[in-house]
């Protein structure tokens, strides 16, 4: 139609001109021929590159606006600044259609070999394909015959990128939108591929088990938070998944926009709202106008351990998507889970919490926020510290803001001192640390790095005061000992008692003789070991842990041969960043014998340097500054071997 119209208009435009220019008639039927050529060319181009019609997409979840959702493209027309900052955020890119532009790793067809199996990513026109071990093969992936599938979606673009390949049963040709997880994950900073199982904190899997995949796992699980208005639509005819939008878009936080769009087509209404900034628009949810609890629950719909898939709710959710709308009470439509709340979901919940129900994994921060005194007795919400849209006066580059979407005031102590003005007036009197030092930073004492995810330690969002008693009861490292890595629990307890009157808990001999961090990295559970391996690379902790922190090196070396992939990964990264020793060709996925060789070499190299700490025994050094192997063996014998699963 478009081509015909253009051809007709072109003909009409050229015809009078030809009449003037054709006194001898030498142009003949030129206008007609020219217009016909345009028509033919246009049609050929259109046929060769047909536009993608989302509703007809058959090999991945289709983006189909329904249920009052209109998509972020519509929002952009009136809210370009907000759309722009969202566009720069990692929320937007949480899920994307896989194209050469969105896939981060190289598409050069080079072999990616892990555990004896092989993958190759290639560009095929505008598509991305993967040559992979046939997922239908019953046996180890390394023995599976290779097949080529299209990669259809990506997850993530910040720390790592996951991929989804088409896996629908499309024999009937009407499109089964099941997608399955590529069992290898691309780490962006390290520019390397890892088996998916190695990117989580979990017990070492059996051989070949960490390369498994889960057919339609995205359609069933990830869709809940990695898409906007996702509708799984599993049915007897197959998987017909639809989403309002891939990724976390405007309407995930503001609710469906159709009514808002329709109402604001009237310019009088828009200008009335512009002129009365205090008046909200009732046709859309602005989380900043909600109560702190309701506002945080907008984030909590994803940033909590919760489920909507209760048996009663499943059919409705399967067909129409989540019932929660921003502004609703979250508990009305979701089961908010804590430790041991739902035995039927034990595998989903277990390990995600410390024993006192403080969340232990990242990505579920609202548990911490709502459990904090600042939220229980004050107005703390997620938006107290985080800006979902970068402010106009925030001078940081958008990508820097997008790293954690912190408000400028929350980059320092401003988020706390707004309420705690008395403390802000004389910070050292409260902290007993020098003003401006890490020990006087609110976050370092009240939000220490005790949660885990994305292969790193992350600040807890449960705002609490350091407590050795809590550490003893739960195993959660306290802020004092996460910074003063060379000090014992007794040392911390004495200072907390002297400075704040915190009652001294009952302490054992080990709590007095060994540095707490030393015990955690050697004898703690895998989660504790990883937290300390990370903390030993954290600048403030290194600076606060003795005149020399060289004593950490042999202990990090032990973690190079830890049973858990994640612990080895973070220990190697810390050692490499510190630069104390050369790790050579160490690879955390190398066989145990190779890893042990590197471990022993690092310890031997550090022994040769013999750099004694102040309190050598506390950090497992002998008098000469070498690793005290007997003390190490004793601690290793007491290691907590409970399986730890920390999946964000």
């Amino acid at each position: 139609m478009e081509a015909v119209l253009i051809a007709v208009v072109l003909w009409a435009a050229l015809r009078p001109l030809m009449r003037v220019l054709r006194p001898g008639g030498r142009f003949g039927v030129f206008p007609e021929v020219f217009a016909l050529a345009v028509l033919v060319t246009w049609t050929a181009v259109a046929v060769r590159r047909p536009p993608v019609i989302e509703a007809e997409v058959g090999n991945r979840p289709a983006r189909v606006a329904a249920g009052g959702y209109v998509s972020s493209d519509t929002c952009a027309d009136c809210h370009p600044r907000e759309h722009g900052s969202w566009h720069a955020s990692y929320h937007r890119t949480m899920t994307q259609v896989a194209t050469p532009a969105t896939v981060i790793p190289p598409l050069d067809g080079a072999p990616i070999e892990i555990d004896g199996a092989r993958w190759r990513l290639r560009r095929r026109g505008d598509d991305v394909t993967v040559e992979m071990p046939d997922p239908a093969f019953r046996g180890p992936p390394r023995a599976a015959p290779p097949i080529e599938r299209r990669l259809v979606m990506t997850t993530g673009s910040h720390h790592e990128q996951d991929f989804w390949f088409e896996d629908g049963d499309d024999e009937d040709g009407d499109g089964d939108r099941a997608v399955s997880h590529l069992p290898i994950v691309y780490r962006i900073a390290e520019k390397r591929w890892l088996p998916n199982g190695a990117t989580f904190m979990q017990p070492p899997p059996p051989a070949d088990a960490r390369l498994g995949t889960d057919r339609a796992g995205w359609n069933r699980n990830c869709i809940q938070c990695h898409a906007t208005a996702g509708r799984p639509r599993f049915g007897p005819e197959g998987v017909r998944t639809e989403v309002g939008e891939l990724g976390i878009a405007c309407e995930a936080c503001h609710g469906p926009g159709a009514e808002h769009v329709a109402a604001n087509r009237d310019p009088r209404r828009r200008y009335a709202l512009h002129l009365d900034d205090e008046r909200g628009d009732p046709t859309i949810v602005n989380p900043r106008r909600l109560s702190p609890e309701r506002a945080s629950e907008v984030c909590g719909q994803c940033h909590m351990v919760s489920t909507i898939t209760t048996p009663a709710a499943f059919p409705e959710w399967n067909e129409h998507g989540p019932a929660f709308r921003p502004g609703d009470r979250l508990a009305d439509t979701r089961d908010i889970l804590g430790a041991a709340d739902r035995p039927d979901l034990a595998s989903f919940v277990d390990g995600r919490f410390w024993s006192d129900a403080v969340v232990r994994v990242t990505g579920r921060e609202y548990h911490g926020v709502r459990g904090s005194a600042c939220a229980e007795h004050g107005d703390l919400s997620c938006l107290s510290c985080h800006d979902m849209h970068q402010r106009a006066d925030d001078a940081r580059p958008p990508k820097e803001w997008a790293d954690d979407q912190l408000a400028p005031k929350a980059l320092g102590d401003g988020a706390c001192t707004g309420c705690h003005a008395a403390i802000a007036a004389d910070v050292p009197a409260h902290t007993r640390h020098a003003a401006g030092s890490p020990g006087s930073a609110c976050y370092d004492c009240h939000m220490p790095h005790t949660t885990w995810g994305l292969l790193k330690a992350i600040r807890s969002h449960q705002i609490e005061s350091p407590s050795v008693a809590t550490t003893l009861a739960t195993g959660r490292p306290n802020a004092c000992n996460l910074c003063h890595l060379d000090r014992s629990l007794a040392w911390s307890a004495e200072r907390l008692e002297a400075w704040y009157g915190t009652p001294m808990p009952a302490l054992g001999d080990d709590d007095r003789t060994h540095a707490a961090a030393v015990r955690w990295i050697v004898a703690g559970d895998a989660g504790q070991r990883a937290l300390i391996a990370w903390s030993m690379g954290w600048g403030p902790a290194r600076a606060a842990s003795g005149p020399s922190d060289a004593w950490m090196v042999p202990l990090l070396a032990q973690a190079l041969d830890d049973p858990y992939d994640a612990v080895r990964f973070v220990a190697a990264r810390t050692l490499a960043a510190r630069g104390d020793v050369a790790l050579g060709d160490y690879d955390f996925l190398a066989p145990a014998a190779v890893r042990a060789t590197v471990r022993d070499a690092v310890v031997a190299a550090e022994d040769a340097r013999a750099r004694p700490a102040d309190d050598a025994a506390a950090v497992l050094q002998d008098a000469a500054g070498r690793l005290d192997r007997a003390a190490l063996a004793a601690l290793l014998a007491a290691r907590d071997h409970r399986p730890v699963v920390l999946k964000e």
Binding site: D77, C78, P80, R81, E82, G84, S85, P267, R270, Y271
Partner: protein
Amino acid sequence: MTPPATHRQLVIRHLRVGWWSLAAFLTLGIVLEAMHGFKVGWYLDLSNATRRLLLTLAHVHGTLLALVHLAFAATLGLRAPTPLPRASLASACLVGAGIALPTGFLLGGLWPWGGDPGLGIVLVPVGAALLLIGVVIVALGLAGDA
């Protein structure tokens, strides 16, 4: 503005207005080009697309309306078929349009509300109406003129 006594005064008025408008809005164009050259975020950022559009429209409308003034002057200079009162009315409309249209876009772009222009945009329909009236008067004055 004193009512013109003759067609010639009208011609001179529109030559002045036209050339000065052209100078002003070409200057605005240079300013906009400079903002492109120096990558000024206030003008170029994606989130300022509304401002960029409106300032561009101000430049374009201002420049084109300046040319309309010159064309009107030329029309009157070539021949003055329209009675003076009607020509004066057309002149007033065109001068009003030359002020209201580009200025409306300019003000709307200086202080936009997200995807909506600032309140100055109310000048634009006024200017558009004046322009239409002025052009129709001139066109009618030439109707049937071979």
